[in-house]
């Protein structure tokens, strides 16, 4: 799809940078633009609280769709091939048809979809970044700030999972407990691929 003026940019939200993301990128042998984001900057900027999340950005730099939980083989990363590929045809439709694609949202819809932050959640951002700053210098201190960020922003999976991954490994007891506590609340926002939404 490269010749259709289309680019996939993947951003690894990994405090350990290349050390953590590198082997995954190696396995995927990507043909897309692969970036490393040690401070979770993109999640900060786009108000994302989990991965994978996605923004569709048009030729003029406008966001025309925002999704949390973008499960698709279109972005599969080696062993980390995510769920189904129901997302892929939607992307292809947009790349082919541009603004006429039924998957494209109006400005108003995108704006409505942007997650709003409370003042506590806003404070969680610089607090999390203090933790990232201290991680290589003083791990215990980093945890203090990460736990504070988690308390300020309990809905941010980014802030919880980055911390737990570095301290108890993937899918450890704290992660399972929090995930279990969700009950029928969505771990990811629903994909909403239906095109019957008002445009």
């Amino acid at each position: 799809m490269k010749d259709q003026n289309f680019e996939i940019i993947t951003v690894a939200e990994d405090t350990l940078g290349e050390a953590a993301a590198g082997e995954w990128y190696d396995a995927a042998n990507p043909t897309y633009t692969a970036l490393i984001d040690t401070t979770h900057r993109v999640s900060s900027l786009y108000n994302f609280v989990n991965v994978p999340s996605a923004a569709w950005i048009d030729e003029e730099g406008r966001v025309v769709r925002l999704n949390e939980g973008t499960y698709s083989q279109v972005i599969s990363l080696g062993q980390a091939s995510f769920g189904t590929d129901e997302y892929r045809p939607a992307v292809v439709d947009w790349v082919t048809n541009g603004p006429d694609s039924p998957y494209v949202w109006s400005q108003e819809q995108v704006v409505r979809k942007i997650r709003r932050r409370t003042s506590d959640e806003a404070l969680a951002e610089p607090t999390f970044k203090l933790g990232v700053y201290f991680y290589e210098r003083d791990e215990a201190l980093a945890r203090t700030y990460w736990e504070r960020a988690q308390a300020l922003s309990p809905d941010s999976w980014n802030f919880h999972r980055q911390d737990w991954n570095l301290t108890e490994g993937l899918g450890g007891p704290q992660y399972r407990a929090k995930r279990g506590a969700l009950g029928d609340k969505d771990y990811y926002a629903p994909l909403e691929l239906g095109v019957e939404e008002p445009r």
């Binding site: 259709q4 003026n5 289309f6 680019e7 996939i8 940019i9 951003v11 690894a12 939200e13 990994d14 953590a20 993301a21 590198g22 995954w24 990128y25 633009t33 692969a34 970036l35 490393i36 984001d37 401070t39 900057r41 993109v42 999640s43 900060s44 900027l45 786009y46 991965v51 994978p52 996605a54 923004a55 569709w56 950005i57 048009d58 030729e59 003029e60 730099g61 406008r62 966001v63 973008t70 279109v74 972005i75 990363l77 947009w94 541009g98 400005q107 995108v110 704006v111 806003a122 404070l123 951002e125 610089p126 203090l130 700053y133 201290f134 201190l141 700030y145 980014n158 737990w164 991954n165």
Partner: protein, 170 residues
């Protein structure tokens, strides 16, 4: 005396006096500022347990603002700052001007926090710079390294459709 000094000034002084009195000593102790994904070392600050004061020349590195005659400005946005007298935002000590970065942050509702033991100040996004995203759905620009360490900007891809996807090893 000459005129009745307005009550507002007296009242304001109550709050300002604390800042001004505590911010009385220039300090050689450097601080570290985290903002906009940058780690910024600032050599000179005023000693103040509550606020971060920097010389105006350091302001652009610290938060992108520039102190102009009309105030502290970031592109078309200017926050008025009186510079012929001391205030909660601006003081002169021994001929050296100092600007209160944290007072500006409070004015702009920019979240910040500090590790005082290590003298590290961490600032969040400035809300007023976010309106193009929050109200007009324009994609926030950013610059990040690729795996070779080369910096890539989102806006480098203007003119193309971009599918921007976050993921993580965790």
């Amino acid at each position: 005396m000459q005129r009745r000094t307005p009550m507002i000034v007296a009242a304001a002084l109550g709050g300002v006096a604390i800042a001004v009195l505590t911010a009385s000593r220039a300090s050689a102790e450097p601080v570290t500022v985290l903002y906009d994904d940058q780690v910024i070392e600032v050599e000179r600050t005023l000693a103040d347990p509550n606020d971060l004061w920097v010389v105006p020349a350091d302001l652009p590195r610290v938060n992108g603002f520039e102190l102009k005659p009309e105030g502290a400005c970031l592109e078309e946005l200017c926050v008025p700052v009186l510079q012929d007298r001391d205030s909660d935002m601006f003081v002169t000590r021994a001929g050296q001007a100092w600007f209160n970065v944290t007072a500006l942050a409070r004015r702009l509702e920019q979240a910040y926090t500090a590790d005082h033991d290590h003298r590290v100040w961490s600032f969040g996004e400035i809300p007023v710079t976010r309106t193009r995203f929050l109200r007009s759905a324009m994609a926030p620009d950013f610059e990040l390294p690729n795996r070779k360490g080369e910096l890539v900007r989102l806006s480098d891809f203007r003119g193309k459709k971009v599918l921007l996807v976050t993921w993580a090893s965790w």
